[in-house]
Protein backbone atom coordinates (compact mmCIF):
# COMPACT_ATOMS: atom_id res chain seq x y z
CA UNK A 1 0.00 0.00 0.00
CA UNK A 2 1.29 3.50 -0.80
CA UNK A 3 2.71 5.25 2.26
CA UNK A 4 0.81 8.37 3.34
CA UNK A 5 3.05 11.28 4.28
CA UNK A 6 2.52 14.79 5.67
CA UNK A 7 3.73 16.44 2.49
CA UNK A 8 3.21 20.05 3.66
CA UNK A 9 5.48 19.43 6.63
CA UNK A 10 8.16 17.82 4.44
CA UNK A 11 7.99 20.68 1.89
CA UNK A 12 8.41 23.20 4.71
CA UNK A 13 11.45 21.33 6.04
CA UNK A 14 12.94 21.30 2.52
CA UNK A 15 12.21 25.03 1.98
CA UNK A 16 10.08 24.45 -1.10
CA UNK A 17 7.13 26.83 -1.66
CA UNK A 18 4.75 24.47 -3.46
CA UNK A 19 1.05 25.08 -4.19
CA UNK A 20 -1.74 22.71 -3.19
CA UNK A 21 -1.97 21.04 -6.59
CA UNK A 22 1.81 20.35 -6.61
CA UNK A 23 1.74 19.09 -3.02
CA UNK A 24 -1.02 16.63 -3.84
CA UNK A 25 0.83 15.32 -6.90
CA UNK A 26 4.09 14.82 -4.98
CA UNK A 27 2.21 13.24 -2.07
CA UNK A 28 0.79 10.58 -4.41
CA UNK A 29 4.06 9.94 -6.26
CA UNK A 30 6.12 9.72 -3.08
CA UNK A 31 3.61 7.33 -1.57
CA UNK A 32 4.20 4.87 -4.42
CA UNK A 33 8.00 5.29 -4.41
CA UNK A 34 8.17 4.87 -0.63
CA UNK A 35 6.04 1.73 -0.83
CA UNK A 36 8.79 0.28 -3.04
CA UNK A 37 11.60 1.71 -0.91
CA UNK A 38 10.08 0.26 2.26
CA UNK A 39 11.11 -3.17 0.96
CA UNK A 40 14.43 -2.55 2.73
CA UNK A 41 12.50 -3.07 5.97
CA UNK A 42 11.84 -6.71 5.11
CA UNK A 43 15.51 -7.61 5.61
CA UNK A 44 16.85 -8.69 8.98
CA UNK A 45 19.64 -6.28 9.83
CA UNK A 46 19.97 -7.10 13.51
CA UNK A 47 23.59 -6.40 14.48
CA UNK A 48 24.56 -5.14 10.99
CA UNK A 49 26.68 -1.97 10.97
CA UNK A 50 25.56 0.73 8.52
CA UNK A 51 27.97 1.55 5.67
CA UNK A 52 29.65 4.93 6.05
CA UNK A 53 32.40 5.16 3.44
CA UNK A 54 32.05 2.38 0.84
CA UNK A 55 35.72 1.40 1.21
CA UNK A 56 35.66 1.74 4.97
CA UNK A 57 37.70 4.96 5.30
CA UNK A 58 37.15 6.78 8.55
CA UNK A 59 38.98 10.07 9.08
CA UNK A 60 41.28 11.72 6.55
CA UNK A 61 43.74 14.12 8.18
CA UNK A 62 45.87 16.84 6.68
CA UNK A 63 48.20 19.46 8.10
CA UNK A 64 46.42 22.52 9.44
CA UNK A 65 48.12 25.08 7.24
CA UNK A 66 46.93 28.43 5.99
CA UNK A 67 46.54 28.39 2.20
CA UNK A 68 45.17 30.94 -0.22
CA UNK A 69 41.46 30.62 -1.00
CA UNK A 70 39.36 32.10 -3.81
CA UNK A 71 39.34 35.90 -4.07
CA UNK A 72 36.33 37.39 -2.29
CA UNK A 73 35.37 39.61 -5.22
CA UNK A 74 35.47 36.68 -7.62
CA UNK A 75 33.13 34.68 -5.39
CA UNK A 76 30.76 37.59 -4.74
CA UNK A 77 30.49 38.25 -8.46
CA UNK A 78 28.25 35.18 -8.73
CA UNK A 79 25.90 36.28 -5.92
CA UNK A 80 22.40 37.58 -6.72
CA UNK A 81 23.01 40.53 -4.35
CA UNK A 82 26.04 41.72 -2.38
CA UNK A 83 27.30 44.88 -0.70
CA UNK A 84 30.55 45.87 1.05
CA UNK A 85 31.94 42.35 0.79
CA UNK A 86 28.81 40.66 2.18
CA UNK A 87 25.99 38.60 0.70
CA UNK A 88 22.70 40.50 0.98
CA UNK A 89 19.39 38.75 1.76
CA UNK A 90 15.89 39.97 2.65
CA UNK A 91 15.12 40.41 6.40
CA UNK A 92 15.38 37.16 8.32
CA UNK A 93 12.36 38.15 10.43
CA UNK A 94 9.15 39.78 9.27
CA UNK A 95 8.89 43.50 10.12
CA UNK A 96 6.63 44.90 12.84
Amino acid sequence: MPIDIDISHVARLARLALDDEQLERYRRQLGVILEHAARVQALDTEGVEPTGHPLGFTNAFRDDQVRPSLERDVVLAEAPDHRDGYFVVPPALEGP
Binding site: I5, I7, H9, V10, A11, L13, A14, R15, L16, A17, L18, Y26, Q29, L30, V32, I33, L34, H36, A37, A38, R39, V40, Q41, A42, L43, T45, V48, E49, P50, T51, G52, H53, P54, L55, F57, A60, R62, L70, E71, V74, V75, A77, E78, A79, P80, D81, F87, V89, P90, P91, A92, L93, E94
Partner: protein
Amino acid sequence: MSLADLTIAEAAKGLRRGAFGARELIDAVLERAAKTEAELHAYLTIDHEGAREAAARADEELASGVDRGPLHGIPVALKDNLCTEGLETTCASQILAGYHPPYDATAVRKLREAGAIPVGKTNLDEFAMGSSTENSAYGPTRNPWDTDRVPGGSSGGSAAAVAAGSALGALGSDTGGSIRQPAALCGLVGMKPTYGLVSRYGLVAFASSLDQIGPITRTVEDAILLLEAIAGHDPADATSWAGELPDFRSELGRGVEGLRIGIVEELSGDGYEPAVLAAVDAMVSSLEAEGARVQEVSLPTFDVALSAYYLIAPAEASANLARFDGVRYGLRVPGATTEEMMARTRAEGFGPEVIRRILLGTYALSAGYYDAFYGQAHRVRTLITRDFARAYEQVDVLVSPTSPTVAFPVGARTEDPLAMYLSDICTIPSNLAGHPAISIPIGLDPAGLPIGFQVMAPALSEPLLFRVAAEVERLASFDARPEVVTP
Protein backbone atom coordinates in the same frame (compact mmCIF):
# COMPACT_ATOMS: atom_id res chain seq x y z
CA MET B 1 35.83 9.24 -42.82
CA SER B 2 36.01 12.45 -40.82
CA LEU B 3 38.68 13.04 -38.18
CA ALA B 4 35.73 13.33 -35.78
CA ASP B 5 35.23 9.56 -36.04
CA LEU B 6 38.71 8.61 -34.84
CA THR B 7 39.27 6.98 -31.48
CA ILE B 8 41.42 8.93 -29.03
CA ALA B 9 44.29 6.47 -29.52
CA GLU B 10 44.09 6.81 -33.34
CA ALA B 11 43.94 10.60 -33.15
CA ALA B 12 46.94 10.67 -30.80
CA LYS B 13 48.95 8.70 -33.37
CA GLY B 14 47.81 10.88 -36.26
CA LEU B 15 48.76 14.06 -34.40
CA ARG B 16 52.27 12.75 -33.73
CA ARG B 17 52.71 11.46 -37.27
CA GLY B 18 51.84 14.94 -38.46
CA ALA B 19 48.92 13.58 -40.51
CA PHE B 20 46.82 16.44 -39.13
CA GLY B 21 46.98 19.07 -36.40
CA ALA B 22 44.92 19.67 -33.27
CA ARG B 23 43.28 22.58 -35.11
CA GLU B 24 42.04 20.34 -37.92
CA LEU B 25 40.84 17.85 -35.35
CA ILE B 26 38.83 20.42 -33.38
CA ASP B 27 37.45 21.86 -36.62
CA ALA B 28 36.20 18.41 -37.66
CA VAL B 29 34.55 17.94 -34.27
CA LEU B 30 32.94 21.40 -34.27
CA GLU B 31 31.75 20.84 -37.82
CA ARG B 32 30.14 17.56 -36.74
CA ALA B 33 28.48 19.35 -33.84
CA ALA B 34 27.17 22.04 -36.21
CA LYS B 35 25.62 19.27 -38.32
CA THR B 36 24.08 17.20 -35.52
CA GLU B 37 23.30 19.51 -32.60
CA ALA B 38 19.97 20.85 -33.86
CA GLU B 39 18.65 17.31 -33.79
CA LEU B 40 20.58 15.80 -30.87
CA HIS B 41 21.11 18.64 -28.37
CA ALA B 42 24.03 16.85 -26.75
CA TYR B 43 25.59 20.12 -25.59
CA LEU B 44 24.34 22.92 -23.37
CA THR B 45 27.40 25.06 -24.13
CA ILE B 46 29.99 24.74 -26.89
CA ASP B 47 33.17 26.70 -26.24
CA HIS B 48 34.11 27.37 -29.88
CA GLU B 49 36.61 30.10 -29.12
CA GLY B 50 38.23 28.44 -26.10
CA ALA B 51 38.52 25.12 -27.90
CA ARG B 52 40.10 26.67 -31.01
CA GLU B 53 42.59 28.63 -28.91
CA ALA B 54 43.50 25.54 -26.92
CA ALA B 55 43.97 23.59 -30.17
CA ALA B 56 46.27 26.27 -31.55
CA ARG B 57 48.35 26.12 -28.36
CA ALA B 58 48.43 22.31 -28.56
CA ASP B 59 49.80 22.51 -32.11
CA GLU B 60 52.44 25.07 -31.11
CA GLU B 61 53.52 22.92 -28.18
CA LEU B 62 53.82 19.76 -30.26
CA ALA B 63 55.77 21.67 -32.93
CA SER B 64 58.21 22.90 -30.29
CA GLY B 65 58.67 19.42 -28.85
CA VAL B 66 56.37 19.75 -25.82
CA ASP B 67 54.27 16.59 -25.73
CA ARG B 68 51.79 16.29 -22.88
CA GLY B 69 50.97 12.68 -23.67
CA PRO B 70 48.20 10.74 -25.40
CA LEU B 71 45.46 13.32 -24.68
CA HIS B 72 47.45 16.22 -26.12
CA GLY B 73 45.14 17.98 -28.58
CA ILE B 74 42.22 15.58 -28.07
CA PRO B 75 38.71 17.16 -28.04
CA VAL B 76 36.68 15.96 -25.05
CA ALA B 77 33.19 16.78 -23.79
CA LEU B 78 32.44 17.52 -20.14
CA LYS B 79 29.16 16.81 -18.37
CA ASP B 80 27.69 20.08 -17.21
CA ASN B 81 27.86 19.17 -13.52
CA LEU B 82 31.66 19.50 -13.67
CA CYS B 83 32.84 22.97 -12.73
CA THR B 84 34.78 24.74 -15.49
CA GLU B 85 36.47 28.02 -14.67
CA GLY B 86 34.71 30.87 -16.42
CA LEU B 87 32.58 28.53 -18.54
CA GLU B 88 28.90 28.36 -17.63
CA THR B 89 28.02 25.34 -15.47
CA THR B 90 24.30 24.76 -15.00
CA CYS B 91 23.73 21.11 -14.00
CA ALA B 92 20.87 21.46 -16.55
CA SER B 93 18.98 23.42 -13.89
CA GLN B 94 17.32 26.85 -13.94
CA ILE B 95 18.66 27.40 -10.43
CA LEU B 96 22.24 27.59 -11.78
CA ALA B 97 21.49 29.41 -15.04
CA GLY B 98 24.34 31.82 -15.76
CA TYR B 99 26.66 30.38 -13.10
CA HIS B 100 30.33 30.76 -14.02
CA PRO B 101 32.44 28.74 -11.56
CA PRO B 102 35.56 30.49 -10.25
CA TYR B 103 37.54 27.24 -10.48
CA ASP B 104 37.98 23.99 -12.45
CA ALA B 105 36.98 20.61 -11.05
CA THR B 106 40.11 18.58 -10.31
CA ALA B 107 39.27 16.09 -13.09
CA VAL B 108 38.87 18.98 -15.54
CA ARG B 109 42.15 20.59 -14.43
CA LYS B 110 43.95 17.27 -14.88
CA LEU B 111 42.50 16.80 -18.37
CA ARG B 112 43.65 20.30 -19.35
CA GLU B 113 47.12 19.61 -17.95
CA ALA B 114 47.22 16.42 -20.00
CA GLY B 115 46.58 18.58 -23.08
CA ALA B 116 42.95 17.58 -23.69
CA ILE B 117 40.70 20.23 -25.24
CA PRO B 118 37.25 20.74 -23.68
CA VAL B 119 34.74 21.16 -26.53
CA GLY B 120 31.92 22.19 -24.22
CA LYS B 121 29.46 21.17 -21.54
CA THR B 122 27.02 18.35 -22.16
CA ASN B 123 23.37 17.99 -21.27
CA LEU B 124 22.20 15.84 -18.37
CA ASP B 125 19.19 15.08 -16.26
CA GLU B 126 19.00 18.02 -13.85
CA PHE B 127 21.65 17.56 -11.14
CA ALA B 128 22.27 14.08 -12.64
CA MET B 129 18.89 12.82 -11.40
CA GLY B 130 17.42 10.62 -14.09
CA SER B 131 18.05 7.89 -16.62
CA SER B 132 17.03 9.52 -19.90
CA THR B 133 18.35 13.12 -20.07
CA GLU B 134 14.73 14.22 -20.37
CA ASN B 135 14.83 15.95 -16.96
CA SER B 136 16.91 18.83 -18.33
CA ALA B 137 15.60 22.35 -17.84
CA TYR B 138 16.98 23.10 -21.31
CA GLY B 139 15.24 20.30 -23.21
CA PRO B 140 16.06 16.64 -23.81
CA THR B 141 19.00 15.09 -25.66
CA ARG B 142 18.17 12.60 -28.43
CA ASN B 143 19.85 9.27 -29.14
CA PRO B 144 22.05 9.43 -32.28
CA TRP B 145 20.99 5.85 -33.13
CA ASP B 146 17.31 6.82 -33.25
CA THR B 147 16.33 10.39 -32.52
CA ASP B 148 12.86 9.33 -31.35
CA ARG B 149 14.60 7.62 -28.44
CA VAL B 150 16.44 8.78 -25.33
CA PRO B 151 20.23 8.47 -25.04
CA GLY B 152 19.88 7.22 -21.47
CA GLY B 153 21.08 9.26 -18.57
CA SER B 154 22.00 11.07 -16.65
CA SER B 155 25.20 11.54 -18.71
CA GLY B 156 23.12 11.35 -21.92
CA GLY B 157 24.67 14.47 -23.46
CA SER B 158 28.19 13.10 -23.02
CA ALA B 159 27.17 9.76 -24.55
CA ALA B 160 25.31 11.36 -27.47
CA ALA B 161 28.29 13.65 -28.20
CA VAL B 162 30.78 10.76 -28.36
CA ALA B 163 28.40 8.58 -30.39
CA ALA B 164 27.81 11.42 -32.86
CA GLY B 165 31.45 12.48 -33.14
CA SER B 166 31.03 15.91 -31.58
CA ALA B 167 33.74 14.78 -29.12
CA LEU B 168 36.27 11.93 -29.20
CA GLY B 169 35.64 11.08 -25.56
CA ALA B 170 33.79 12.52 -22.59
CA LEU B 171 33.56 12.65 -18.84
CA GLY B 172 30.34 11.73 -17.10
CA SER B 173 29.38 11.08 -13.51
CA ASP B 174 27.86 7.87 -12.19
CA THR B 175 25.79 7.78 -8.99
CA GLY B 176 23.56 4.81 -9.84
CA GLY B 177 24.55 4.04 -13.43
CA SER B 178 24.65 7.46 -15.06
CA ILE B 179 27.82 6.68 -17.07
CA ARG B 180 27.26 3.00 -17.87
CA GLN B 181 23.56 3.10 -18.84
CA PRO B 182 23.82 5.94 -21.42
CA ALA B 183 27.03 4.38 -22.77
CA ALA B 184 25.12 1.12 -23.26
CA LEU B 185 22.17 2.86 -24.92
CA CYS B 186 24.49 4.77 -27.28
CA GLY B 187 26.82 1.88 -28.25
CA LEU B 188 29.83 3.11 -26.25
CA VAL B 189 32.20 2.09 -23.48
CA GLY B 190 31.29 3.67 -20.11
CA MET B 191 33.24 3.10 -16.94
CA LYS B 192 32.59 3.86 -13.27
CA PRO B 193 35.84 3.70 -11.29
CA THR B 194 36.19 2.49 -7.71
CA TYR B 195 34.71 5.05 -5.32
CA GLY B 196 37.44 7.58 -4.51
CA LEU B 197 39.72 6.76 -7.44
CA VAL B 198 38.84 10.07 -9.11
CA SER B 199 38.53 13.28 -7.08
CA ARG B 200 35.00 14.64 -6.79
CA TYR B 201 36.25 18.18 -6.11
CA GLY B 202 34.31 20.48 -8.42
CA LEU B 203 31.73 17.84 -9.33
CA VAL B 204 28.46 19.39 -8.18
CA ALA B 205 27.42 16.92 -5.49
CA PHE B 206 24.34 14.73 -5.90
CA ALA B 207 24.88 11.79 -3.51
CA SER B 208 28.39 12.12 -2.10
CA SER B 209 28.87 8.51 -0.96
CA LEU B 210 27.93 7.20 -4.44
CA ASP B 211 29.12 9.79 -7.01
CA GLN B 212 32.13 8.98 -9.20
CA ILE B 213 33.48 10.69 -12.32
CA GLY B 214 34.44 8.41 -15.20
CA PRO B 215 35.00 8.14 -18.96
CA ILE B 216 32.61 7.57 -21.87
CA THR B 217 34.53 6.55 -24.98
CA ARG B 218 34.39 4.48 -28.17
CA THR B 219 36.91 1.89 -26.98
CA VAL B 220 38.26 0.31 -23.81
CA GLU B 221 41.73 1.67 -24.66
CA ASP B 222 40.30 5.22 -24.79
CA ALA B 223 38.60 4.70 -21.42
CA ILE B 224 41.96 3.74 -19.93
CA LEU B 225 43.61 6.82 -21.47
CA LEU B 226 41.05 9.15 -19.89
CA LEU B 227 41.10 7.38 -16.53
CA GLU B 228 44.90 7.48 -16.39
CA ALA B 229 44.70 11.25 -16.74
CA ILE B 230 42.07 11.92 -14.06
CA ALA B 231 42.68 9.25 -11.37
CA GLY B 232 44.61 9.96 -8.21
CA HIS B 233 44.49 11.37 -4.71
CA ASP B 234 43.39 14.98 -4.24
CA PRO B 235 43.82 16.83 -0.94
CA ALA B 236 40.65 18.76 -1.88
CA ASP B 237 38.57 15.55 -1.71
CA ALA B 238 39.04 13.81 1.63
CA THR B 239 37.23 10.72 0.32
CA SER B 240 39.67 10.22 -2.56
CA TRP B 241 41.92 7.16 -2.55
CA ALA B 242 45.28 8.01 -0.96
CA GLY B 243 46.96 4.65 -1.59
CA GLU B 244 48.95 3.56 -4.58
CA LEU B 245 47.11 3.65 -7.90
CA PRO B 246 46.76 0.36 -9.74
CA ASP B 247 48.46 0.07 -13.14
CA PHE B 248 45.34 -0.13 -15.30
CA ARG B 249 47.24 -1.89 -18.11
CA SER B 250 48.99 -4.51 -16.02
CA GLU B 251 46.61 -7.34 -16.95
CA LEU B 252 45.74 -6.37 -20.53
CA GLY B 253 46.23 -9.08 -23.11
CA ARG B 254 46.10 -11.98 -20.70
CA GLY B 255 42.77 -13.20 -22.07
CA VAL B 256 40.17 -14.95 -19.94
CA GLU B 257 41.47 -18.51 -19.86
CA GLY B 258 40.87 -19.97 -16.42
CA LEU B 259 39.15 -16.80 -15.26
CA ARG B 260 36.05 -17.43 -13.15
CA ILE B 261 33.08 -15.43 -14.42
CA GLY B 262 29.83 -15.18 -12.46
CA ILE B 263 26.48 -14.46 -14.09
CA VAL B 264 24.28 -12.59 -11.61
CA GLU B 265 21.07 -14.61 -11.30
CA GLU B 266 19.09 -11.66 -9.95
CA LEU B 267 19.83 -9.51 -13.02
CA SER B 268 17.71 -11.31 -15.60
CA GLY B 269 14.16 -12.55 -16.07
CA ASP B 270 10.98 -10.47 -16.19
CA GLY B 271 11.45 -6.93 -17.40
CA TYR B 272 14.58 -7.78 -19.42
CA GLU B 273 14.22 -7.58 -23.19
CA PRO B 274 14.82 -10.93 -24.92
CA ALA B 275 17.31 -9.38 -27.38
CA VAL B 276 19.34 -8.00 -24.46
CA LEU B 277 19.42 -11.34 -22.65
CA ALA B 278 20.26 -13.21 -25.86
CA ALA B 279 23.19 -10.91 -26.62
CA VAL B 280 24.51 -11.24 -23.07
CA ASP B 281 24.17 -15.04 -23.23
CA ALA B 282 26.02 -15.13 -26.54
CA MET B 283 28.88 -13.07 -25.10
CA VAL B 284 29.09 -15.34 -22.04
CA SER B 285 29.32 -18.35 -24.40
CA SER B 286 32.11 -16.64 -26.34
CA LEU B 287 34.01 -15.99 -23.12
CA GLU B 288 33.52 -19.62 -22.15
CA ALA B 289 34.86 -20.71 -25.54
CA GLU B 290 37.97 -18.64 -24.75
CA GLY B 291 38.53 -20.73 -21.65
CA ALA B 292 36.66 -18.78 -18.96
CA ARG B 293 34.90 -20.83 -16.27
CA VAL B 294 31.35 -19.58 -16.11
CA GLN B 295 28.87 -20.16 -13.31
CA GLU B 296 25.64 -18.59 -12.06
CA VAL B 297 25.97 -16.69 -8.82
CA SER B 298 23.18 -15.50 -6.56
CA LEU B 299 23.36 -12.15 -4.77
CA PRO B 300 19.94 -12.11 -3.08
CA THR B 301 20.19 -8.57 -1.67
CA PHE B 302 20.37 -7.17 -5.23
CA ASP B 303 16.57 -7.46 -5.14
CA VAL B 304 16.42 -4.61 -2.62
CA ALA B 305 19.38 -2.59 -3.93
CA LEU B 306 17.08 -0.27 -5.87
CA SER B 307 14.98 0.37 -2.77
CA ALA B 308 18.06 1.14 -0.65
CA TYR B 309 19.41 3.40 -3.39
CA TYR B 310 16.20 5.41 -3.62
CA LEU B 311 16.48 6.20 0.08
CA ILE B 312 20.23 6.84 0.31
CA ALA B 313 20.68 8.91 -2.87
CA PRO B 314 17.71 11.27 -2.26
CA ALA B 315 18.67 11.66 1.41
CA GLU B 316 22.17 12.76 0.48
CA ALA B 317 20.78 14.91 -2.35
CA SER B 318 18.38 16.71 -0.02
CA ALA B 319 21.35 17.73 2.15
CA ASN B 320 23.68 18.55 -0.77
CA LEU B 321 21.10 20.65 -2.61
CA ALA B 322 20.32 22.73 0.49
CA ARG B 323 23.10 25.05 -0.71
CA PHE B 324 20.96 26.26 -3.62
CA ASP B 325 19.01 28.87 -1.72
CA GLY B 326 19.37 32.10 -3.71
CA VAL B 327 22.07 33.55 -1.45
CA ARG B 328 25.52 32.85 -2.93
CA TYR B 329 24.98 31.99 -6.58
CA GLY B 330 22.41 31.24 -9.21
CA LEU B 331 18.73 32.16 -9.29
CA ARG B 332 16.98 34.32 -6.69
CA VAL B 333 13.20 34.75 -6.62
CA PRO B 334 12.27 37.73 -4.38
CA GLY B 335 10.46 37.20 -1.08
CA ALA B 336 9.55 39.33 1.96
CA THR B 337 11.77 37.29 4.27
CA THR B 338 14.90 35.21 3.82
CA GLU B 339 12.92 32.01 4.24
CA GLU B 340 10.25 33.05 1.75
CA MET B 341 12.94 34.06 -0.77
CA MET B 342 14.67 30.68 -0.33
CA ALA B 343 11.49 28.60 -0.58
CA ARG B 344 10.31 30.45 -3.70
CA THR B 345 13.75 30.31 -5.32
CA ARG B 346 13.97 26.57 -4.76
CA ALA B 347 10.41 25.81 -5.89
CA GLU B 348 10.91 27.77 -9.12
CA GLY B 349 14.55 26.90 -9.74
CA PHE B 350 14.36 23.12 -9.38
CA GLY B 351 12.50 20.88 -11.83
CA PRO B 352 9.97 18.19 -10.83
CA GLU B 353 12.38 15.23 -10.52
CA VAL B 354 14.78 17.20 -8.32
CA ILE B 355 11.91 18.40 -6.12
CA ARG B 356 10.61 14.82 -5.91
CA ARG B 357 13.98 13.56 -4.70
CA ILE B 358 14.53 16.42 -2.26
CA LEU B 359 11.10 15.70 -0.73
CA LEU B 360 11.81 11.97 -0.65
CA GLY B 361 15.20 12.49 1.00
CA THR B 362 13.88 15.05 3.47
CA TYR B 363 11.17 12.61 4.50
CA ALA B 364 13.63 9.70 4.84
CA LEU B 365 15.84 11.84 7.10
CA SER B 366 13.05 13.42 9.15
CA ALA B 367 12.38 12.76 12.83
CA GLY B 368 10.51 9.51 13.39
CA TYR B 369 11.41 7.98 10.01
CA TYR B 370 15.20 8.23 9.98
CA ASP B 371 15.95 4.79 11.39
CA ALA B 372 13.22 2.90 9.54
CA PHE B 373 14.26 4.34 6.16
CA TYR B 374 17.69 5.96 5.99
CA GLY B 375 19.32 3.92 8.77
CA GLN B 376 17.89 0.67 7.46
CA ALA B 377 18.98 1.48 3.89
CA HIS B 378 22.57 1.91 5.08
CA ARG B 379 22.48 -1.42 6.93
CA VAL B 380 21.12 -3.05 3.76
CA ARG B 381 24.01 -1.41 1.92
CA THR B 382 26.37 -3.33 4.19
CA LEU B 383 24.51 -6.56 3.34
CA ILE B 384 24.87 -5.85 -0.39
CA THR B 385 28.63 -5.37 0.04
CA ARG B 386 28.75 -8.69 1.93
CA ASP B 387 26.89 -10.39 -0.93
CA PHE B 388 29.54 -9.08 -3.34
CA ALA B 389 32.32 -10.34 -1.05
CA ARG B 390 30.76 -13.82 -0.91
CA ALA B 391 30.37 -13.87 -4.70
CA TYR B 392 34.02 -12.87 -5.16
CA GLU B 393 35.07 -15.90 -3.13
CA GLN B 394 33.63 -18.02 -5.95
CA VAL B 395 34.34 -15.92 -9.04
CA ASP B 396 36.77 -13.22 -10.23
CA VAL B 397 34.30 -10.92 -11.98
CA LEU B 398 30.52 -10.63 -12.28
CA VAL B 399 28.64 -9.96 -15.51
CA SER B 400 25.11 -8.85 -16.43
CA PRO B 401 23.27 -6.67 -18.92
CA THR B 402 24.05 -2.98 -18.31
CA SER B 403 20.42 -2.04 -18.80
CA PRO B 404 17.35 -4.31 -18.92
CA THR B 405 16.29 -2.64 -22.17
CA VAL B 406 17.69 -0.87 -25.18
CA ALA B 407 17.05 2.88 -25.62
CA PHE B 408 13.39 3.62 -24.97
CA PRO B 409 11.21 6.20 -26.76
CA VAL B 410 11.26 9.82 -25.61
CA GLY B 411 8.40 10.33 -23.16
CA ALA B 412 7.83 6.61 -22.49
CA ARG B 413 8.73 6.72 -18.79
CA THR B 414 8.36 10.39 -17.83
CA GLU B 415 4.93 9.94 -16.20
CA ASP B 416 6.01 7.00 -14.05
CA PRO B 417 9.03 7.81 -11.84
CA LEU B 418 9.30 4.23 -10.56
CA ALA B 419 9.49 2.77 -14.09
CA MET B 420 12.28 5.25 -14.84
CA TYR B 421 14.12 4.24 -11.65
CA LEU B 422 14.04 0.58 -12.76
CA SER B 423 16.33 1.54 -15.68
CA ASP B 424 19.22 1.48 -13.20
CA ILE B 425 18.56 -1.90 -11.61
CA CYS B 426 21.73 -3.53 -13.00
CA THR B 427 24.07 -0.64 -12.29
CA ILE B 428 23.11 0.50 -8.78
CA PRO B 429 24.71 -2.35 -6.75
CA SER B 430 28.25 -1.34 -7.82
CA ASN B 431 27.66 2.22 -6.60
CA LEU B 432 26.35 1.01 -3.24
CA ALA B 433 29.45 -1.18 -2.79
CA GLY B 434 31.85 1.44 -4.21
CA HIS B 435 33.16 -1.08 -6.75
CA PRO B 436 34.28 -0.43 -10.35
CA ALA B 437 32.13 -1.53 -13.28
CA ILE B 438 32.18 -1.04 -17.03
CA SER B 439 29.76 -1.31 -19.95
CA ILE B 440 30.98 -2.53 -23.33
CA PRO B 441 28.83 -2.51 -26.51
CA ILE B 442 28.27 -6.06 -27.77
CA GLY B 443 25.70 -5.79 -30.53
CA LEU B 444 22.46 -4.37 -31.87
CA ASP B 445 18.90 -5.51 -31.25
CA PRO B 446 16.62 -6.29 -34.25
CA ALA B 447 15.66 -2.61 -34.46
CA GLY B 448 19.32 -1.61 -34.72
CA LEU B 449 19.70 -0.29 -31.17
CA PRO B 450 22.89 -0.94 -29.16
CA ILE B 451 23.11 -3.44 -26.29
CA GLY B 452 25.61 -3.08 -23.42
CA PHE B 453 27.39 -5.80 -21.43
CA GLN B 454 28.36 -5.00 -17.85
CA VAL B 455 31.44 -6.33 -16.07
CA MET B 456 31.82 -5.74 -12.32
CA ALA B 457 34.95 -6.32 -10.22
CA PRO B 458 36.05 -5.82 -6.60
CA ALA B 459 37.25 -2.45 -5.33
CA LEU B 460 40.50 -1.26 -6.94
CA SER B 461 40.47 -4.19 -9.39
CA GLU B 462 40.49 -1.90 -12.43
CA PRO B 463 43.35 -3.87 -14.07
CA LEU B 464 41.21 -7.03 -14.03
CA LEU B 465 38.12 -5.10 -15.13
CA PHE B 466 39.92 -3.62 -18.15
CA ARG B 467 41.45 -6.98 -19.03
CA VAL B 468 38.01 -8.61 -19.21
CA ALA B 469 36.46 -5.57 -20.92
CA ALA B 470 39.15 -5.58 -23.61
CA GLU B 471 38.45 -9.26 -24.24
CA VAL B 472 34.70 -8.64 -24.46
CA GLU B 473 35.39 -5.80 -26.90
CA ARG B 474 37.60 -8.04 -29.05
CA LEU B 475 35.05 -10.88 -29.08
CA ALA B 476 32.12 -8.56 -29.87
CA SER B 477 34.06 -6.67 -32.57
CA PHE B 478 31.32 -4.07 -32.42
CA ASP B 479 32.00 -1.48 -35.11
CA ALA B 480 28.54 -0.19 -35.99
CA ARG B 481 28.04 3.57 -36.01
CA PRO B 482 24.80 5.56 -35.86
CA GLU B 483 23.40 6.80 -39.15
CA VAL B 484 23.73 10.42 -38.16
CA VAL B 485 27.49 10.18 -38.68
CA THR B 486 27.55 8.15 -41.89
CA PRO B 487 27.55 10.46 -44.90
